[in-house]
Amino acid sequence: MHVMSLDMFMQHFINALGLGSLYGLIAIGYTMVYGILRLINFAHGDIFMLGAYFVFFATVQYKLPWAVGVLAAILGATLCGILVDRVAYRPLRSAPRISALISAIGVSFFIENLSVVVFSGMPRPVVQPPLLMKAFSVGGIRLVPLALLVPVISFLLVAALMWLIYRTRPGLAMRSISHDIETTRLMGVSVDKIIALTFAIGSALAAVAGIMWALRYPRVEPFMGIVPGFKAFIAAVFGGIGSIPGAMLGGLSLGFVEIMSIAFFPSLSGYRDAFAFVLLIVILLVKPTGLMGEKLEDKI
């Protein structure tokens, strides 16, 4: 085991906080869609990738100001998310769930390969805005503003989402659909619109995560969404699928497990991507509903 100073530990702590909150932001999209449709939206990781690419094209390629670029990227990814639902999932609403799952795999595969064709498979470097990268030090810890901005923005967005879900009428409709889609339809709620809204919110959050990811690890490539996507889904399962605070908690847990185990045991670094899957299998065996999940009853 690696012995480290408090300063080093704090550095890793902030690192883990950043990575964990990004996982959490992506996980929210998974957990919302799964909560409502019982569908693993495999394409979600690719929406995350599209968000990163859009901001790259807007700011690096077309030299738009960052604020405009970020908005355009969020908007673009959100539209893609809604489109995915409309084209690939809505026709399969009444089909067996496994069909929608295969469709989701197909869509994910499609977006990745289309991105290779359109954007080229070469990784591209992202130019970070200097303002976010100007290092300063607090009590011996060297920090860049970006490292603090990522968790702060993530937590603000989660707070806003919680307000939306628990305090507004569309939020009420979402919660209602997740309990019983048919009854909600009978109550006069336009279910398809609410589902589209769910995809829009999830995709927007994934796009924000993608943008911040592209700033933290400054490059974009067409397959960058696969591994974070899987890990975020695992985070959603770990936290309890269907629960938004659970998704955030799961994301943070995963971020801390990944960063801290490598910080303390550097020899394990080759196995970094396996931790998430080990965590998944452990939680599925010990507590399949996740940390904060409700029990999903099998309907007979």
Binding site: I40, R97, F110, L114, A274, A276
Partner: protein, 357 residues
Amino acid sequence: MKCAAQSSDKFRNGCLTLLSAAAFAALIWWAASSLDGYKLRIINLIAINAILGLSLNLIYGMTGMFSLGHAGFMAIGAYVSALLILSPEQKTTMWILKPITPLLLNIHAPFVVSLIAAGLAAAIFGCLIALPVLRLGGDYLGIATLGFSEIIRILITNLTPITNGSLGLKGIPAHTNIWMSYGCLAVVLVCVVRIMNSNFGNVLRAVRDDEIAARTMGIDTFRARVLAFTIGCFGGGLGGALMGNLITTIDPKMFMITQTYNLLMIVVVGGLGSITGSIVGAVVVTTMLEWLRIVENPVSIGGFEIPGIPGMRMVIFSLLLIVVIIFRREGIMGMREFSWSWFFRTGSRGTEGGGQG
């Protein structure tokens, strides 16, 4: 009268099965002696994909366990087989980063033994995974098996003294020939047909269609699921070993999730739960994947040069998967099977499993 008609039908079907098997053997003999290497490779690949498709279909289509872990079991099979076949000299020169474990250095086995070992290794591993994971159902099972397949891949990448890490294994003798791959396919096909026509096959269908009802009838559904999963994993390992010996190089990147998607495509296009479907699916998907290489090469039509688009092949491929699942969910065969009585449209349509072509 009816009895006599049935027995004469049975005799006719048996003759036809034997005849078509002989005709097929003649076809293989012709192909092996007159086709070029590229075509033979595709024909081999069809057989291997059919084996893999059948084994995934046994797990998913027939028993209803959504497994996304097949690439991992293929990897186990491919590595076990390669480690048994490679000569000690090859092994000493190949492990550059770290020396190979002495235990593995001198181990050596003929091809057929290595195939069986590959299948057994994958089956043992599959069984170990199945015991905890098959308690889950539906898409959780899919994600958990996917997780295991990724863990296997990461282990292979990191266990350099055993697997040569990310460099992979090169120079595996090309033992897989058309006789070998179609021989294996025939064995697998007979096994799967016999399983599905036995009482155990009925148990598997019952588990798929309604697990709770099956349990109420006194079926040990968990045992049936573990057994079916283990048999399916054997097929995965066997297919992986054949593929390694066909391509002659293997590395961990070969066994990514994309590999499982391709197999899923074969099973879905052919028809979930149909043995015939998996074979038809393997032929269609493998040929199509090769044929689609055209779009990546430049073509000239009437003097115009249309540049090839790299990556377009997989775009069309994934689009087809979506189109099939939205517009023709049951695939080409649905749950139907090929049988001679179905072929002649006599008797009931294809409910009795007859001789497979």
